[in-house]
Amino acid sequence: MENFMINNTMNNANVMQQSTRKSYEPFVGRYDPCKPITVKYYETPPQLYLGFQPPGLEQFPPPEALKRGTLWPALYAPYSNPYETP
């Protein structure tokens, strides 16, 4: 559990820097019939980094919490379609 604590602190720092979306470039085959998607995205939300939630974390005010689906900004990771052309 002590190791866990250390990781926890490190991970909290990571959360601030980590984007919750990652990407990779899949191989494009010469005979692929569909127009290639050159960048693929996937989500890596905050529960992957937070560790055991430390006490006293910042909270959203209750109306905001309902709107966002969580009381805790540290766990809030909104999603939108990454392939949408605006």
Binding site: Q53, P63, L66
Partner: protein, 88 residues
Amino acid sequence: MANKTLPDDYYQLLEEIQILDFTLVELNLYLDTHPDDLEAIKQFNTYTRKAKELRQQFEERFGPLMHFGHSYSTHPWAWNEPPWPWQV
């Protein structure tokens, strides 16, 4: 009854209850894994009291929210009255 429309404050009051209850759900799940967090327990108890008060206000105007003896009834039996949650 089918064409009866609900007043704006039905939606407002309902949403206020949903807001408080949601914070309570979040604190509840947090406390399930953090049973020693006294500050969170105090906050949970404060919101529980507020939510009970709001429920009472809502029920006086729009009828029972709960069954099986957790809400009072007027005459005739009020539980059967629409709207049900998916209808509003």
